[in-house]
């Protein structure tokens, strides 16, 4: 199945685009999507160590579908739009961190 990922800053800088089509096996969950994104874009959530832990994932990104925060077990559906927002509590995106550092200096 094919879903569409909508990225928001700062993730847009890492991926280089605002929308990203992703092909996944039928029955894939949000956790599967996260694993795929981690493989394709290692810089997206580089400090995320335990993607199977809901609380930790939300320290690095918030996954929203249909206006609601999705749990890791959420079963994705063909054609669905998943939005990735910055975390409400933590997380890091190294590319922009470097940029911020440059601004700081």
């Amino acid at each position: 199945m094919r879903i569409e990922v909508h990225l928001h800053p700062p993730f847009t800088q890492v991926v280089g685009t605002r929308t990203l089509p992703v092909e996944l096996p039928d029955g894939a969950s949000l956790l599967d999507l996260i694993e795929r994104l981690r493989m394709d874009y290692p810089n997206l959530f580089p400090s995320l160590r335990s993607p199977e832990r809901e609380e930790e994932v939300r320290s690095f990104a918030i996954f929203v579908g249909g206006g609601e925060v999705l749990p890791l077990s959420y079963k994705l559906r063909e054609g669905e739009v998943i939005e990735i927002y910055p975390p409400l509590s933590g997380g890091v995106v190294p590319k922009l961190v470097q940029k911020t550092r440059r601004l700081i200096c």
């Binding site: 928001h8 206006g67 927002y85 509590s89 933590g90 700081i104």
Partner: protein, 625 residues
């Protein structure tokens, strides 16, 4: 005295121009810990709940916690406590920065200001003593200039706490500011006006002492192990500040827009986000004392109409209240508006609230469309900037707005009451109870009026767990079952944060109540268990409630603006939800052990060991407890 404390509280009577110290009561420290809890206990001891908040009988209390000036991460904080002139009930405001640490290093757990001076004065507190000095040359000056002047007059490394013109003019939404240009406010409840009424312009503190620590090696080892994890989990907060969550907050329907009427504002949120700030005006991070996250923003604007802005930048609440509430999406203008509030000494939350209220009143014909040459309309930085100045100086429309939305709406009357978004007279902060069910009852029962930090419950409904307290999963933000207990438990936990004195943002770094308890015992050596620890939080919450009950507060007051309870946002991430208020409030009272009228029962008072305090308040009460 026990480890963690300096064992001394400084008293300053401005009427009699006398200063003295009193030993900190160990019994009180064990029951109320410090900061907010001890501050509340001193307030009960030293004043009558019926006092005029701007009269000399209202003590102004600055209180550190046992963790202030220790190596515990994020512990550079203190609490300011007094009866609030804005709400007429218990008032408190927490501040970060370095002032509390400086006061403790000068040798004091707190300083309590009694009486009032006839002429402007400031205090200079150092290890050798305290001086009451003339401040007539500082009256009328903004807090950044006061800081520079006073550090030149005292010591370069001293830290200042000061009011701006707003506090001098007894503006009811005036803040007590700290750390000069770094601008760390004790903003809420109008405590700047209490300081202004005492003609106390500033308190300068400096010292080199440290509180004793029961098990320093154990504490250092525990902190060392925790810090890398705190930094890893909270790195986004570090890089983008509190407004790094702006777009997410908007997407979840949690951002108040257009005086709480509009449901979505996608592009606006992006334009004022922390990510945008990092790309434009951000100069560097700011760290409060002992902080390892540094969510503070230090900004600089070098060109354009707002060139010259330099120092503390806008945090999430400033951007949301001065910006989203008024539909202003110009980040640089909002940075300037924030600097104005900091210099003039205004609470950015309440200021944004009263400005949005005024614009809506004008839009509906309840105020003239043009007031003193300013055309009141949404999305206008000019309106926001002009009204900030008018409020601080009580000029023009500012005289009305300086009283806060509750009083202003009562003065205008009619439909204006619909547009006054507050709980118990305190303007709502920028998190919407329609997006998080716990917030409605949290705001309604918060002892200082509408406040997101008195419970901080919504973070456990979106990203953080509390396994030790019965919440191993992130809570359903639209859930109802068990929410009453949940709100109460989070409030008790936040009372501990406010009393120990450490920043609640440490929760974003993976720190749980178990860590807090371990550090508590390592600092104090008291060997408490989690039940006893949480009971102290519950005791502190109930003490403040008893004070409020003595001020006449009961169930009738435990509510929030009807707009938030009964009117849908209509679009965005919380388009249709309305918080099931009555159900959750009833659960809450039952869990708290309060009567149907919202008064702690005798059994509850006994269980928490508050008989003495309840008796005192009953004796002093303007109404029968």
């Amino acid at each position: 005295m026990n480890a963690g404390y300096m064992g001394k509280v400084l008293f300053v009577d401005l009427t009699r121009r006398k200063t003295w110290t009193e030993p900190l009561s160990e019994a009180w420290a064990r029951r109320f810990i410090g900061g907010s809890g001890l501050g509340a206990r001193y307030l009960v001891e030293l004043s009558d709940p019926g006092v005029d908040p701007l009269g000399p009988e209202n003590p102004l209390i600055f209180m550190n916690g046992p963790w202030t000036a220790t190596p515990i991460p994020l512990s550079g904080r203190h609490e300011v406590v007094a009866k609030s002139p804005l709400t007429g009930i218990y008032g408190e405001a927490d501040a970060g920065g370095h002032w509390g640490t400086a006061l403790k290093k000068a040798g004091y757990d707190g300083v309590i200001i009694l009486g009032a001076s006839e002429e402007p004065v400031y205090l200079w507190i150092h290890e050798e003593g305290v001086e009451i000095r003339d401040a007539s040359h500082l009256w009328g000056l903004d807090t950044y200039v006061v800081d520079e002047t006073l550090r030149a007059e005292t010591a370069k490394t001293a830290v200042t706490c000061a009011i701006g013109p707003a506090g001098e003019n007894l503006v009811k939404i005036a803040a007590v500011m700290h750390d000069g240009r770094d601008a760390r406010p004790a903003a809420r409840c109008g405590l700047g006006a209490v300081m202004g009424a005492k003609k106390l312009k500033a308190i300068v503190a400096m010292g080199n002492r440290r509180p004793p620590i029961h098990d320093r090696d154990g504490l250092m080892a525990s902190i060392k192990a925790a810090v890398p994890e705190i930094k890893r989990l909270a790195e986004s907060l570090s890089k983008y500040g509190t407004s790094g969550r702006m777009t997410t907050i908007e997407a979840l329907g949690d951002l108040p827009i257009r005086n709480w009427v509009q449901g979505a504002w996608k592009e606006g949120a992006e334009r004022i986000s922390g990510q945008r700030m990092a790309e434009t005006i951000l100069k560097k991070q700011y760290f409060c004392g002992a902080c390892v996250i540094g969510c503070g923003r230090d900004v600089e604007i070098t060109q354009g109409p707002y060139a010259g802005v330099q120092g503390a930048g806008p945090e999430y609440e400033a951007l949301a209240c001065l910006g989203a509430l008024t539909v202003v999406d110009d980040l640089e203008a909002l940075a300037y508006a924030t600097e104005l509030c900091n210099r003039l000494g205004l609470d950015v939350i309440s200021t944004g609230g009263v400005i949005a209220f005024a614009i809506e009143c004008a839009e509906r014909g309840l105020l003239p469309a043009k007031v003193d040459g300013i055309e009141l309309r949404w999305g206008s930085p000019e309106v926001v900037l002009a009204l900030i100045k008018q409020i601080a100086h009580r000029q023009g429309l500012g005289a009305l707005l300086a009283e806060g939305v509750r009083k202003a709406s009562e003065d205008i009357g009619g439909l204006a009451l619909e547009f006054a978004i507050h709980a118990k007279g305190l303007e709502l902060p920028a998190h919407d109870p329609r997006a998080y069910n716990s917030l409605a009852v949290g705001y309604a029962t918060s002892n200082r009026g509408a406040c997101h930090l008195q419970g901080f419950s919504y973070i456990f409904e979106r990203a953080v767990t509390l396994p030790e307290l019965g919440y191993p999963e992130i809570q359903d933000r639209f859930g109802v079952e068990g929410k009453g207990r949940f709100v109460a438990v989070t409030q008790d936990l936040m009372c501990l944060f406010d009393s120990l004195k450490t920043c609640k943002f440490i929760l974003f770094g993976g720190i749980k109540p178990t860590h807090l308890l371990a550090w508590f015992n390592l600092v104090n050596g008291w060997g408490w268990d989690l039940d006893r620890f949480m009971e102290a939080g519950e005791r502190i919450f109930n003490l403040k409630r008893l004070y409020n009950v003595a001020c006449g507060i009961s169930r009738k007051d435990d509510t929030i603006a009807p707009r938030i309870l009964t009117q849908r946002r209509g679009e965005g991430g919380a388009a249709t939800n309305l918080p099931p208020f009555g159900e959750i409030l009833s659960q809450y009272y039952e869990h708290r052990g309060w009567s149907p009228e919202g008064i702690p029962t005798e059994e509850t008072v006994r269980r928490l060991g508050l008989e003495e305090e309840a008796g005192k308040l009953r004796a002093k009460a303007v109404m029968k407890v």
